[in-house]
Amino acid sequence: MPRFALGVAAREDWAVAPNAAAGADTFPKLLIRNAHLYGTRPAMRHKDLGIWQTWTWSEVLEIVRAYAVGLHNLGVKCGETIAIVGGNRPRLYWSVMAAQMLGAVPVPVYADAVADELAFVLAHADVRFAAVEDQEQVDKIQSVLSRVPKLELVVYDEKRGLRDYDHSTLRAMEDVIADGRKALADPAVATWLDKEIETGKGSDPSIILYTSGTTGTSKGVVLTGERSISAASDTVTFDKLTETDVALAYLPLAWVGDHYLNYAQGIVSGFCTACPESPDTAMADLREIGPSFYFAPPRTLELLLTRVMIRMEDAGLMKRKLFHYFIDVARRYGGRILNGEPVPLSGRLLYAIGNILVYGPLKNVLGFSRVRIAYTAGEAVGPDLFSFYRSIGLNLKQLYGQTEAFLYLTAQPDGEIYSDTVGRACPNVDIRISENGEVQFKSPGMFTGYFKDAAKTAEVMTPDGYVKTGDAGFFDEKTGHLKIIDRTKDVGRLNDGTMFPPKYIENKLKFYPNIREAVALGDTHDFVTVMLNIDLTAVGSWAERNNVVYGSYQELAGHPLVYDMLEKHVAEVNRSLAADKVMAGAQIRRFLILHKELDPDDGEITRTLKVRRGFIADRYAPLIKALYDGSNEADISTEVTFEDGRKGAISARVKIRDMKTEPVPAMGKAA
């Protein structure tokens, strides 16, 4: 192990307060601090050839220093950009670190980006160098080379398949690191590098993260070192993360979540980041690593739960009974125990037995045994899904953020957990709700601007220095937590001025397993109405159990008992809407159940299952008219496309039900 010639850092200096502002303003400086403080502790793990390989913080520092010198010798200069393309692999994380060590700015790109996207980012970011994972990415880059004229050199991690390529513009990462190591043997070079690191400024860009571009072309969000570090230090303190924690880095490298949760928090707190063997083995690797800090989008959690439930259905009778009994116990007491609320002794005892027999083994299978803090974010999470994981003892919480804020805006503190909020503003974050209901923020981690796009930067900044999120939300009166309801541009208004967020209402409805799809209407109308789709599997099995006979989807959807059942769901949604002053006026007055499933083949929903409102408004105009003119039923005939491409028509008489609304608290109607 070579000696680190950095003069200043005596161990005690760092140890004073490892998290208070982290003691340094750039990631390379922190890396040196970590090598001093936690030199022999694991910094990174990666499963290779079936075995977990480990690198300690001092080993990582040594490699990154060599890598940085290697890159410098290839011509990488301070202030320029380097693209990083690939999955979660140690060498790509080290590429980020090495670039930052030289004052260059890494630009991670999604590994599965199609050639067009890749070309756009590489060209827009003016990259001369790219560090990529393997042949696949090299091929992709070479296919768009003509559109990236500035690109000079590609450094690759995985050698396989690249031997016969023209190596005038290609280098193996391994060789770059080896060259750097040789050069570092010269003390002058080592001193030069130390100087480079020392003079690195926290106010300089530390990374550019391109937004995924769901709305128009992607924009490069520029984040600085000191801001990233101060945001990460705040949450590291907030969640009490230390160098003994472990996280599995399985989310895309180019996503702000990975850069913040794993990279920034990892370097600030000194915890160990484990990289899965391959993207497909993440679930198995999770179990082997047993992380203590875990992040998963709601969809992943849902997938895991479904998998567990399916496997339980295949289990023997005894096991199944045991499972359901104790999951019921967990539902009653688990969440409350986790929240530190009072629970009767019998409940505690039962829960303890359940923990030994069911929850413990279940968490072990899922890889959650050691998880201390788990977060979910990205979209609305169903209350049942959320409370399931909490009830078995997983400390799952929600957070809210966006790339422009380095993901750091709100989080739920321990003991204040609700499935429909995203938590309080984090320490040092200033959040306000604008006139039109938009969430705006000022935060320690906020970006400095979009790369080469002053116009767009100006668009999202308010004159007084707040950033517009584009999300509509409000602060819940009871809990003081922020609730996000929809994108601002999708939020409508009823005729009396009440806010009408369609997706918020639809999500609440869709959490019921019987409801597959919902379309809420109300913009520029007097009140809110919804059109529902039943879930054939759930309602079908309900019908079987309750001796409801039906011949077709249409008949089942129109069945009075089905209407009764869904009416209860709608009433519950109304109750929960009434609980929020802001939402109380948007209660559902009338609903109907559609006679056919909304189908991407008919263009009613997108392939990614998003409702296409405009199209539906045209197609179901007679029904919508009936919803608002007070009639009790309406006739409709719609053209459908069968799977073989033939077209046909379905006609139906659809009934409409009126709903009682909950009393609206004072102030309910805003205008």
Partner: protein, 266 residues
């Protein structure tokens, strides 16, 4: 292997030569008087319409069938009769048209089975799984893990092969053949029954095996696109007779081949 940077893949001398080979089952002539050679390091395709004698040819090469006439020279040695296990010992591995794996065993164990011929510790030690047997197993496991990494099948390492989709089973079978570290790899329709994407993946693997391990490959394939893309030289059989031999380009423009595939009035 992997770390060493791989052997050179320059096409070299003749690895295997088939001279005037004939094979008949009773009155049915499967192969008549066929001669061709396979050079070291190349990918050699054997193509032809149904019943042309392609699989028979592979079976002759790896000693499953014994030709009535002709000579086969492998690595400079000519043998009148070679049994399949001799062939395996001497460095010929193969995959089958219909996947022939141990369905109840995991992918890992199946590939490990390909190492059997390389294991030397005796039954006693293996029974105890101790001492030399353990050391040996560790070493073989390392080789097998390299193959798993190479074929990108980490996520199915522990999955019983019977539960895998067809395309992955084919890949495991290729893995098992590779585990033998063969000099000559015979692939019998490696892409049969695959969709376009799977075919592309498999073609990539075939090329990579050739490039990375320097393995000489002889493959039977029906998809002309694949054959033209991956092979260095092609031999064409029809009704057991060799009708063409040459580079893909030459073969494609050969009138006899076109006739055999498209059919002519007899």
């Amino acid at each position: 292997m992997r770390a060493a940077g791989g052997p050179d893949v320059a096409v070299g001398g003749v690895l295997l030569s088939v001279e005037n080979v004939s094979l008949a089952f009773g009155g049915v002539k499967a192969v008549s008087d066929v001669s061709f050679d396979i050079r070291k390091g190349e990918i050699r395709a054997i193509i032809g319409p149904n019943g042309a004698g392609k699989t028979s040819m592979l079976n002759i090469i790896n000693g499953f069938y014994h030709p009535q006439k002709g000579r086969i020279t492998f690595k400079g040695e000519t043998r009148a009769k070679m049994r399949p296990h001799d062939a395996a010992y001497r460095g010929i591995a193969r995959t089958f048209q219909n996947v022939a794996l141990f369905r109840g065993m995991t992918a890992l164990d199946n590939i490990m089975a390909g190492r059997t011929l390389k294991m030397h510790s005796n039954f006693f030690w293996q029974l105890l799984r101790y001492g030399p047997a353990m050391r040996e197993e560790t070493e073989h496991r390392h080789r097998v893990e390299e193959i798993i990494d190479f074929l990108k099948i980490q996520e199915i390492r522990r999955v019983p092969v019977g539960r895998l989709p067809y395309g992955l089973q084919k890949r495991v079978e290729l893995g098992r053949a590779l585990a033998m570290e063969p000099d000559l790899l015979l692939l019998d329709e490696p892409m049969a029954g695959m969709n376009l994407e799977e075919k592309e993946d498999m073609s990539r693997f075939v090329l990579d095996v050739n490039d990375h391990y320097g393995t000489t490959i002889a493959l039977i394939e029906h998809d002309m696109g694949v054959v033209m893309d991956v092979s260095d030289r092609v031999v064409v059989l029809d009704h057991g007779i060799k009708i063409a031999d040459g580079t893909p380009g030459e073969v494609k423009s050969n009138q006899a081949v076109i006739d055999a595939y498209l059919g002519v009035a007899h």
